[in-house]
């Protein structure tokens, strides 16, 4: 990143960041799924403990509580579940209610772990953890193999296109480290994953992510942080080695290009009209300052690049990229920047600035996959709000068309969706929106379904088929009635 120097930076620029010892590209987000019975809490505890992320006072508190409750497990008498079960009700009932976030770092990178409980509200928790994850670790009990819950969790991560799926086949010690028994479980995992389109290599078939299967014992520590001498027949990385090596969502492809087209949903227009914080001598040059603030959702953009803005279909050229007083010559996901354009277009919150020619128009309808998260069921005719990027619009669920049978993984006909269901629906929008297939763009193709009165988040949605284009999108809603 070089600075454009012909415009003076309004603030004195400091030296390069002082954190040279911190590796770059280093924030990796992952989620864990599986039930307590599968040993998930033990695995999370083991990962945190062995990577020295648990500090002395936390360990002391957990050890004290473990012994007060007579926990005498083989993990040195420590009930690792107490580390992640933060709420009183969770500790009292021995269950995990809500997603808990944990933070740890190794020499290679830093991690944000979303620990998703398996039993209660499993779809809700899995979806929450998976939407922001670079990887999901799915835990299964080596003695039980692939269960219905495994299939459900794998369905969620497949549909949400989590970039990397790691299946940890746990309790391998209880199988006496028997290779044949492990290979049997591994084969059935790969079979289900293949049915769901989770690929075995690279980004996988249909871009649905890479699959890694690892034999572990969370209790003993085999292949969690260090490779185990007890599984000589396994030649892959330990779990932590894998987490340190996998690519993050916003990484580039092998050609050094962003894997998705540039998108910036406009959050707000920065137009201070003279009320500026810059040096008074420079204030005049900011009198007509106007920039479009937002976080780059995907791809990258350079000064001089042509852009299309939807709705409206206006085109312009990027004349400046501002980051709090520093002019950048390039911005990329997930940077929060402000773009200046050559032309005065009618751009407000909710607009999407895209690389020229990559976002052809707007539509008023879509087919979607919905992860229904609310106790109140969904039926056709429901009036809801949907949030795409930085826009909230009214919408009508025209039809519920199917529901995923999580046992057979087949889509069954359905007219309603209940809590924790994954199903298909056709949705009509009250306004033209520039939406895309989730498979093409994970940000532009994702949306929330919101209750119009009480504001609850009813569902996570992903676009499977955008409706027909209603023109270049002049924002007026012009266009014929779109049938679902």
């Amino acid at each position: 990143m070089t600075l454009v120097t012909d415009t003076p930076a309004p603030f004195p620029t400091t030296e390069a960041p002082l954190i040279s010892e911190v590796p770059r590209g280093t924030l990796f987000r992952f989620a864990t799924a599986g039930s307590v019975d599968d040993g998930k809490s033990t695995l999370v505890g083991r990962l945190l403990h062995d990577s020295k992320a648990i500090l002395a006072d936390q360990l002391e508190a957990v050890t004290r509580t473990s012994s007060e409750r007579g926990f005498g497990g083989a993990a040195g008498g420590i009930d690792f579940a107490l580390l992640t079960d933060g709420l009183r009700a969770e500790r009292e009932q021995g269950i995990t209610i809500d997603v808990a976030y944990r933070y740890f770092a190794t020499a290679a990178r830093s991690f944000i772990l979303a620990d998703c409980p398996g039993h209660v509200q499993y779809t809700r928790n899995m979806v929450t953890g998976a939407t922001t994850a670079d990887a999901v670790i799915m835990l299964i009990d080596a003695r039980k193999g692939v269960l219905e819950q495994t299939r459900r969790h794998l369905s969620v991560v497949a549909l949400l296109r989590v970039p990397h799926v790691i299946v940890a086949v746990n309790k391998i010690d209880l199988l006496q480290y028997d290779e044949l028994a492990y290979r049997e479980v591994e084969a059935s995992v790969r079979q289900v994953a293949a049915e769901l389109g989770i690929g075995a290599d690279g980004r996988g078939s249909d871009g649905r992510g890479s699959l890694h299967v690892i034999p572990v014992s969370a209790l003993v520590g085999d292949n969690v942080v260090d490779r185990s001498p007890l599984t000589p027949w396994y030649d892959g990385p330990s779990l932590l080695e894998l987490l340190e090596a996998l690519t993050v969502i916003d990484d580039l492809d092998e050609n050094g290009r962003a894997t998705e087209d540039f998108r910036l949903p406009v959050q707000l227009v920065l137009r201070p009209q003279g009320a500026v914080v810059v040096d008074p001598e420079l204030a005049d040059s900011f009198r007509d300052y106007r920039a479009y603030a937002g976080q780059v959702a995907s791809g990258s953009i350079r000064v001089g690049d042509a852009v299309t803005v939807q709705p409206g279909g206006g085109t312009s050229v990027v004349t400046g990229i501002d980051f709090a007083g520093v002019e950048l010559d390039e911005a990329f996901a997930p940077q929060s920047v402000a773009l200046r354009l050559a032309d005065e277009l009618d751009i407000a919150r909710g607009a999407v600035i895209a690389a020229a020619g990559t976002l052809p128009g707007v539509t008023r309808s879509l087919d979607a996959e919905l992860f229904w998260l609310d106790p109140r069921p969904l039926a056709a005719g429901a009036r809801v709000l949907v949030k795409f990027g930085t826009t909230v619009v009214q919408a009508l669920v025209a039809e519920v068309t199917g529901r995923l049978d999580l046992t057979t993984l087949a889509v069954q006909p359905a007219t309603t969706l209940a809590v924790n269901d994954i199903g298909q629906a056709s949705i009509r929008l009250s306004r033209d929106l520039p939406i895309e297939r989730y498979a093409d763009n994970r940000r532009s193709g994702a949306f929330l379904v919101i209750h119009p009165q009480d504001g609850s988040t009813l569902a996570a949605g992903i676009v499977t088929v955008p409706g027909p284009l209603t023109g270049a999108g002049d924002g007026s809603g012009a266009g014929s009635e779109v049938s679902p």
């Binding site: 954190i19 933060g86 009183r88 830093s110 500026v276 709090a324 520093v326 988040t457």
Partner: protein
């Protein structure tokens, strides 16, 4: 809720702003990767901008502590070259360190924002609150906070809370809905999906927004170092008269005198968190500069709250209980 262009937001600026943001060069090079701090910074700016765009009257809880100072810095970056489009609120227990209050006022003046102070002592004076037997006033902040939120008609309240601070906070959302009693219901939180925040609320409800949820103590210190952010001096090693209580060094002050059986000594200490003088402990430290502190935090084996907060040691669920009642 509607989208509000930033220029229509009521100005709360009262003084002219000079330089407030030392601007680092984002460290990404040809590999297109951002550093951990860059990613966290952009995430926080995105959250701050979303809240300002979707809410009518946001406010930032500002104590002069390092986390709220970092959020203020991020807000200044989010709206550059414009001014920070919201005001600040501090709940003063009357037990704050004087040097922190001084720092608070200087910082507010430098950023040119308006500060409202809600005073616990006003509530004690007229009997709306009574002093606790243990002398700590941290739990007493909740009522003045809720009153100030109502009086300011604030529909969104920014805070500097982080999920790594406490087990209950680990389950907190970035946007957290509170009812008219300010209560947090951990069993009924909205799922937080992608980076699509749902801030919709009904009359009487408000939303707490935590832009640095995903930052660790070490992230905060590295960011303070990178951005040259000024902090109250007591975050750095200094000599102070202290005595040992609850396995912590407590400052000798009018509100926290040593008991007869406690020995006062002069030690070189610093504070890892800055709260009430009556319940915040200092730690032995020679870390006199931000670089020293980064090194010290990097090798610390005790969490910051475990080391320095007596109020969180009362029970395993102390923070959870306070949060449910409307505390941060």
């Amino acid at each position: 809720m509607r989208a509000a262009p930033v220029n229509t937001i009521e100005s709360t600026v009262t003084t002219t702003v000079t330089d407030t943001i030392p601007t680092p060069v984002p460290s990404a090079a040809g590999d297109h990767r951002l550093s951990e701090l860059d990613v966290l910074e952009s995430e926080a700016i995105h959250i701050i901008r979303e809240v300002v765009a979707e809410f009518e009257r946001p406010v930032l809880l500002f104590s002069g502590g390092k986390d709220s100072v970092v959020v203020l810095h991020l807000a200044a970056k989010a709206f550059w070259p414009g001014k920070i489009p919201f005001s600040l609120l501090h709940v003063d227990t009357g037990h704050n360190f004087p040097e922190v209050l001084e720092f608070r006022d200087e910082t507010v003046a430098r950023h040119g924002v308006r500060l409202t102070v809600a005073r616990v002592e006003d509530y004690l004076a007229d009997g709306r609150l009574t002093e606790r037997a243990d002398g700590t006033r941290n739990p007493l902040q909740t009522l003045p906070l809720l009153d100030a939120i109502a009086a300011g008609r604030h529909d969104a309240v920014f805070g500097g809370a982080r999920r790594d601070e406490d087990k209950a906070r680990a389950k907190e959302r970035i946007l957290s809905l509170r009812d008219e009693f300010g209560q947090w219901d951990p069993r009924n939180q909205r799922p937080e999906l992608w980076n699509l925040y749902n801030g919709r609320h009904t009359v009487g409800q408000h939303v707490r927004a935590f832009p640095i949820s995903n930052w660790t103590e070490l992230n905060v210190w590295r960011y303070i170092e990178r951005e040259n952010i000024e902090l109250p001096p007591l975050y750095y090693a200094h000599e102070r008269e202290v005595y040992r209580r609850d396995n912590m060094w407590r400052a000798v002050s009018p509100v926290s005198p040593a008991r007869e059986d406690e020995t006062v000594e002069l030690r070189t200490v610093r504070y890892r968190t800055v709260g009430d003088m009556s319940c915040t402990g200092a730690v032995d430290s020679d870390a006199a500069s931000v670089a020293d502190v980064v090194r010290e935090v990097g090798v610390s084996t005790i969490t910051e709250r475990g080391a320095t907060r007596a109020d969180d040691r009362i029970s395993e669920a102390a923070m959870e209980d306070r949060k449910k009642e409307g505390y941060f």
